[in-house]
Amino acid sequence: MNHEQHTLLKKLLESYGPSGNEEKIRDIIREEIRDYVTEIRTDTMGNLIAIKKGSGKKVMIASHMDEIGVIITGIDEKGFLRFSNVGGVSPYVSLGQRVLFQDGTLGVIGMEDLENMKDLKLNKMYIDIGAETKEEAAKKVQIGDMACFYQPMAVLEKNIVSKGLDDRIGCFVAIEALKRIQSSTNELYFVFTVQEELGLRGARTAAYGLNPDLGIAIDVTSTGDTPKAKPMAVELGKGPAVKVMDKSVLCHPIVKKMMIDTANQNQIPYQLEVLEFGGTDSGAIHLTRSGVPSGVLSIPCRYIHTPSEMVSKNDVENAILLLTKILEKPISI
């Protein structure tokens, strides 16, 4: 990772962007890629659509801008905030974390006194922003405001650790591939989607509007390489993963083969992925209109939906390489 890439990734990861509030991320990406594309626009849902014109097949590449977070549902007399989840947020993971609101307000997640930690649920927890009264809190935070985890990016020797790698790392891979593609006859729709964590919502409407011939989502996937992990044959550092299936999609054989063939031809390491839970944007794309053959290029990631998600630098670089090569080749289906 060179200095520019490091700066971009840090900006993408540390910025605020829970589902439905992707504005900052969208601005960063738009600035970053506008000179590399023929057309760039935001649709009604908030998806950023960047187009590289071509005469060939229309390919939609989707990576989601949103991250999980919390939403304020109430403010008590003493200024403590009650909250609910935005996407998959575990109470255990949230406890003691710092959260960031859009205006920069910082809060800490605490819990009521519980006899048994097994009873810990989000409705037994609160956010403390240091306000002493309801009025004081209400000056900074309103019901319905969202917050995301607050953690700086950390770069280890081989790995990157941060909140929001799901799926800013996918956005990063798409941005880098978009910049590196020398020439392509395919018509490429790079879509940075919204509200994936709420149910693949942005990808659904973007795919309808663009009507692509083929869809590829770029997202993180789980690994099975940690102590007593749920069995899964994906490991960190063994290359990007070509998804076979998850709960939302059975990847189209043509798309899968295209990814595998391209990896083999270019000596890019890859691993096959079968994910027994979760879904991603391709789940929505492949069912659009009369159906869109779709696949997923995954970046193996430990500790997904925590403030310390972890990916391998090599996997990220190889994902960029593989995506670039896939998109440069004329696609026929």
Partner: protein, 346 residues
């Protein structure tokens, strides 16, 4: 009179898939005020009130259906076995008065009297399949003359006004939205108003999606009756909404995240015009907005609701002021629309 219409609408039967009676009432109520009116293949009542060129096409949606039951079988002794349609709290079923089928055959949901129950039995909620409806028939043959398998069953509950401006009725979710929408159609607006009175919301938001697909609006507002649990010692945010504190603006629920631009406009309008409103607290549940906003390339959608205590029961309760404020609020929103506004290029 919107409350007169509300009374008639709540006293009509309209369990999901059986919205005819409600649809007919609404058809007659709105026909004089709209330019086009049709019933689509799903049964949605869709009316169009044409506006001026260059103004957006705005979908206003309220669902006609209510939760209820359906006849499953009639047993040898003439008792009616039934299945629930939509989300009903099983604890509230016993001893309720219901009406069955087109002829509205009256019946009561029966169970063993408390005197005969073992202490253990009293602690358990009886499941719908352990209950029966007593329609006074003495045999299967007699029962089958009155009702047949597949007949719809709705609660019997009179509309009454009581207390300080309160209304008690069944099916305020979402006849209150239907009555509000019908009233709004009497006004004159620059924008084209598409009114969709939808079917089958309670069994999975089924009518709204196809109505939005057919009518292709620029933006949409869903008008609902929503949860209100501001009773006894319930504290914020668990009460979700408070009765009499104005219509509620949704932000996030399980089915949609309200469009920010519409939401901000609605808040500003309410503040400027001193319309009391509240934000819906809590994120459970979902409504027609879930389907509408994901239709085609996406339709910016927001939801405004009248708080209703005890929804999905025979005795939902609302405040007349919330109802009136909701009408005024949406009217002001429609009046605020400028030329070229909200029209997105696709």
């Amino acid at each position: 009179m919107p409350l007169k219409l509300l009374k008639n609408l709540t006293e009509a039967c309209g369990v999901s898939g059986n919205e005819d009676e409600v649809r007919n009432l609404l058809h007659d109520a709105i026909a004089p005020y709209v330019d086009e009116i049709q019933v689509d293949p799903m049964g949605n009542l869709i009316a169009v009130k044409k506006g001026k060129e260059g103004y957006p096409r705005i979908l206003l949606a309220a669902h006609m259906d209510e939760v209820g039951f359906m006849v499953k079988s009639i047993d040898d002794n003439g008792f009616v076995k039934f299945v629930p349609i939509g989300g009903i709290d099983e604890r509230i079923l016993i001893s309720k008065v219901v009406q069955i089928g087109k002829n509205k055959v009256p019946g009561v949901i029966g169970a063993k009297a408390i005197h005969l129950q073992e202490p253990d039995e009293r602690k358990k909620t009886l499941k719908p399949n352990q209950l029966y409806i007593d329609i006074g028939a003495k045999s299967k043959e007699e029962g089958e003359k009155l009702v047949k398998r597949g007949d719809y069953i709705s609660f019997s509950s009179e509309y009454i006004e009581y207390g300080d401006q309160l209304v008690k009725a069944k099916a305020l979710d979402d006849r209150v939205g239907c009555a509000i929408l019908a009233e709004i159609l009497k006004g004159h607006y620059a924008s084209t108003i598409i009114a969709a009175f939808t079917v089958q919301e309670e069994i999975g938001l089924r009518g709204a999606g196809v109505a939005a697909y057919r009518t292709d609006p620029d933006i949409a507002i869903v008008i609902e009756g929503t949860t209100c649990y501001d009773v006894a010692d319930i504290k914020e945010p668990d009460y979700i909404t408070q009765l009499g504190h104005g219509p509620a603006l949704s932000i996030l629920d399980a089915a949609s995240y309200s469009d920010k631009h519409i939401r901000n406009r609605l808040s500003r309008i309410a503040e400027k015009n001193n319309i009391k409103f509240q934000f819906k607290q809590g994120t459970a549940g979902g409504n027609d907005a879930g389907r509408i906003h994901l239709t085609k390339s996406g339709i910016p959608t927001a939801t405004v609701s009248v708080p209703c205590r005890y929804i999905h029961s025979p005795v939902s309760v609302m405040h007349k002021q919330d109802f009136q404020n909701c009408i005024r609020w949406i009217e002001l929103f429609l009046e605020s629309i400028q030329k070229e506004e909200w029209i997105y290029e696709s």
